[in-house]
């Protein structure tokens, strides 16, 4: 029995049924809500481990739900939205959502997102303030200010190191361009995004065995980047 409790917020019954059936088939426990108000109530009373949140709710903007939940909880939130609404996704991520799913999504995608979130929660469990970060062959010593890949030290520029740390501290979470550029440069304008892409590319060259199919840093076209948890 999977101990995970998932709150499914979705107003469209067939989609809600689909998600519920999938979760049941994979031994997750779940609750459902079909309005924003209901979602906030359920989240407060049952303290779910993950919230699956549809952005198009009848009573309230999904981003508003995120703001309300984030007032008192750090529960991971995965938003679900239609494909052509990148701006909504970015707004949701900037408001504090952790990940997103695009409609129409496959069942496999849904399960993969849940696993990523599970691993992230496990990681967060103990070493929140740890001075050493370990993920697969990657090891970062925040105190010493250096990083190793499989025992070999990575020679990173200052910006590359900052980027790596930012991604590492948010492993499993999709970080928007705005979030990253603000975290690294303290500002967010268009030229920073161009710079970000170049630094990200050079960082990956040093980090990834095959930059074409990255293991650590995932690209989310039009949205941002994410550090994956590697087994």
């Amino acid at each position: 029995m999977n101990k995970f409790l998932i709150l499914v917020v979705e107003d469209d019954p067939p989609v809600r049924n689909l998600i519920a059936t999938t979760l049941k088939a994979h031994d997750y426990r779940y609750l459902t809500a079909d309005t924003g108000e209901g979602a906030v109530m359920e989240a407060a009373s049952h303290a779910p481990d993950v919230i699956l949140l549809d952005l198009g709710l009848p009573d309230m903007d999904g981003v508003e739900v995120i703001h309300r939940v984030r007032d008192w909880s750090n529960v991971p939130i995965i938003v679900i939205s239609a494909r052509s609404e990148d701006a909504d996704k970015i707004a949701a991520l900037d408001a504090g959502a952790d990940d997103y799913l695009t409609k129409p999504f496959s069942v496999d995608e849904l399960l993969a997102r849940l696993r990523v979130t599970q691993r992230r929660l496990a990681l967060m469990g103990g070493d929140e303030s740890a001075s050493v970060y370990e993920n697969g062959a990657l090891r970062i010593d925040f105190a010493a200010g250096c990083a190793w890949l499989g025992g070999e030290e990575l020679h990173l520029t200052a910006i590359e190191y900052k980027l790596l740390c930012l991604l590492a501290r948010n492993t499993g979470k999709v970080l928007t361009h705005k979030f990253i550029t603000q975290g690294v440069w303290g500002s967010s304008w268009d030229n920073d995004v161009a710079s970000l892409r170049v630094y990200m590319a050079t960082l990956r060259k040093k980090l990834e065995a095959a930059p074409g199919s990255p293991q650590y840093i995932q690209t989310h076209i039009g949205i941002g980047y994410r550090m994956m948890k590697v087994e």
């Binding site: 494909r83 052509s84 990148d86 701006a87 129409p104 200052a158 910006i159 361009h177 440069w185 268009d190 030229n191 920073d192 995004v193 161009a194 710079s195 892409r197 170049v198 630094y199 990200m200 590319a201 050079t202 930059p211 074409g212 199919s213 690209t219 076209i221 039009g222």
Partner: protein, 644 residues
């Protein structure tokens, strides 16, 4: 302008019979269901009309208004010309005139109004209403000749008479006959008729010549008596000869002057028309009209364009160098000219404002500097002609714009209808299989062996996937159609875009492989990431559709001048030369021998081209060696300065 319907024009005047003309015109308008306009041509001497005439004019105007006429006033000296101009520019089809204004040919001066009107506007029907008023043809009281020109004319007449006498005296002394002296006087009268501006001087001069000749040269000299029995006849013939010759000279002069005036006006209008018809857009038309006015009248000119019923900031056109113009002080006068629909002067009399209007549509107000002197008659003619040409050009421009908008609308309606028809047809097939398969499973799940069930699930999944892709493309297509294709470009890593697209297509179950060759350089591209990914996805899908499921497809990226390029290459049969351009057309599906035809909507490549063009790139198809097709597109390269 109501095309096809009649537009009837009656001329307002102070004539007592004008009421009949107005009533007739109103009846005609009713019968033809046409529009009815009453036109008043205001000449510069209108102010000098008698109280009686003014009152009758007001009465006639009120009558026309009551009978449903639109009252229009134009300003100018040349009445037939103004009527014809108004008729031409406003699409008037019939003009109603009274017999009195139709008039008989007068001895002096110009041909009657009807003939002049016919000459100016040959395409308009002219209806003449018999004038039954007992008073005979009505003529408004002619304004008295100005004192200045009367004195000048009188001086000329006297001078010429004196000169003729001075020449004749020595001739008489030397014994020349009376005939010679008479000829000298006749010559004098002809000269008088040429240099003076009114026929009365030629007449007076004829009489005076006879008297002077009688007094000075016939026996007994220095008296008005004459002894010779033939003299009365001589005097009569002398008078008639002098008078008729002078009349002919005078008429010729008037004709020549009129012809010159007409030629000048025609040329000016033609030039203005040419210039205005070349002008594109409202501002250029106004500029051109203002330049013409400045050039022809030499006065400072302002134009207030009208937008959404509000007068905009005036545009100033100085005649020479700088021009001082107090917009705040002058604007009320301009607005008054617009609302009262008639020319008017500013409070301080500095500028004369005239509205730019045609039918009920107003386009602005033109102001002319009249501080030095008021416009004279011919200047008013020029002004009203240029204004009329200008409004006509504005009207044409506006009509053209409306027409274009309507055409665009019709075109997009047609596209939408096409799209709907094609889609509803193409959606039906996968929907039929999905619902049929699902119904089968619901009813007979137990009867199928696991193998068969798996196959049915697979079919449902594939069809649903296909629909998903289709809906995605349709969404983009409708956005392009509605002009809502809003790009959201940012700096993207080209290899990220290619990788994302290839990863997307790899999710599909197909046997063929996609190979990716990245450029060694880090290439940044300025593009809407999602749309750029869609282009590559469509190109890869297209390659598999036409080259077969087992094809090998290669995606190559690289730099090409100031652009980046992406090539999608397959090893299928390629695209025939005749179809190379057409593959990017909407709903075009080639002849490639792939069995399942319903999988092709002919939208994929159309969208690719629309997206690439919206980014300022190009897309084309070439042949691959030894066989196959290469689709190549370019996108703008993004230069980056790194932020440390």
């Amino acid at each position: 302008m109501e095309s096809g319907s009649e537009h009837i024009l009656a001329c307002l005047s102070s004539s007592p019979s004008n009421g009949r003309i107005i009533r007739t015109a109103a009846r005609m308008a009713q019968v033809f269901r046409g529009t009815f306009t009453a036109l008043y041509v205001k000449t510069s001497d209108a102010g000098a009309a008698s109280q009686e005439d003014k009152r009758r004019l007001r009465y006639n105007q009120a009558l026309a208004e009551k009978l449903g006429a639109r009252i229009e006033t134009v300003y100018g000296e040349d009445v037939p010309f103004q009527i014809a101009e108004y008729a031409r520019l406003n699409g008037v089809t019939k003009i109603v005139l009274g017999r009195s204004s139709a008039g008989r040919r007068r001895l002096f001066g110009r041909p009657p109004l009807t003939e002049q009107l016919l000459a100016y506007a040959p395409e308009v029907d002219i209806h003449i209403i018999p004038d039954k008023s007992a008073d005979g043809p009505y003529r408004p009281k002619q304004a008295a000749e100005s004192g200045k020109s009367a004195a000048k004319n009188a001086l000329w007449s006297l001078g010429i008479l004196a000169a003729a006498t001075l020449i004749s005296l020595p001739l008489h002394t030397w014994g020349f006959t009376d005939a010679n002296i008479i000829m000298v006087y006749i010559l004098g009268v002809v000269l008088t008729s040429v240099v003076t501006t009114h026929p009365v001087y030629a007449l007076a001069s004829s009489v005076a010549s006879v008297l002077v000749f009688n007094y000075l040269f016939t026996v007994p000299r220095f008296s008005f008596a004459a002894y010779g029995t033939g003299y009365p006849v001589t005097f009569l013939i002398m008078f008639l000869t002098a008078y008729i010759t002078s009349t002919l000279a005078m008429r010729y002069k008037a004709r020549a002057g009129q012809a010159a005036l007409t030629a000048r006006r025609t040329k000016m209008l033609f030039d203005a028309n040419q210039a205005l018809s070349k002008a594109r857009g409202r501002d250029e038309i106004l500029d051109t009209a203002a330049e013409r006015l400045v050039g022809l009248l030499g006065r400072n000119t302002v134009i207030y364009p009208l937008e959404d019923g509000l007068l905009q900031e005036p545009m100033l056109y100085p005649a020479t160098g700088e021009m001082a113009y107090d917009t705040d002080a002058e604007r009320p006068a301009a607005r008054r000219a617009l609302t009262e629909d008639a020319p008017g002067e500013g409070d301080k009399g500095g500028y004369l404002y005239a509205p730019l209007k045609v039918n009920d549509r107003k386009y602005g107000v033109v102001g002319l500097d009249v501080r030095s002197e008021m416009l004279d008659g011919s200047e008013r003619d020029i002004l009203s002609s240029i204004l009329a040409e200008c409004t006509l050009a504005l009207e044409n421009e506006r009509n053209a714009r409306e027409k274009e908008a309507a055409a665009v609308l019709a075109e997009s309606e047609k596209l939408r209808a096409d799209l709907l028809r094609t889609i509803s047809h193409d959606l039906r097939t996968p929907l039929t299989t999905i619902s049929g398969n699902a119904a089968n499973l619901l009813a007979n799940e137990d009867k199928f062996d696991p193998e068969t069930r798996r196959a049915i699930y697979g079919d449902i999944y594939d069809d649903a996937q296909w629909l998903t892709e289709l809906v995605e493309n349709l969404l983009y297509a409708t956005r392009i159609e509605e002009g809502r294709m809003t790009l959201n470009p940012s700096a993207e890593l080209l290899s990220d875009i290619v990788d994302e697209a290839v990863a997307h297509t790899r999710r599909k179950t197909r046997k063929g492989a996609v190979r990716v060759i990245h450029s060694k350089e880090l290439l940044l591209v300025r593009a809407d990431a999602r749309l750029a990914v869609q282009v590559i996805v469509n190109l890869i899908d297209n390659a598999f559709k036409y080259a077969g499921e087992n094809a090998s497809v290669t995606v190559t990226d690289g730099q090409c001048g100031g652009m980046v390029e992406v090539l999608v290459t397959d090893d299928g049969p390629g695209v025939a030369d005749s179809e190379k351009e057409r593959v990017f057309e909407k709903f075009f599906c080639g002849q490639a021998p792939v069995a399942d035809d319903r999988r092709r909507l002919g939208l994929g490549l159309y969208l690719c081209r629309a997206i690439i063009q919206a980014h300022g790139g190009t897309i084309e198809v070439r042949d691959n060696q030894p066989h196959g097709a290469v689709f190549r597109f370019t996108l703008p390269l993004e230069e980056v300065t790194l932020h440390e």
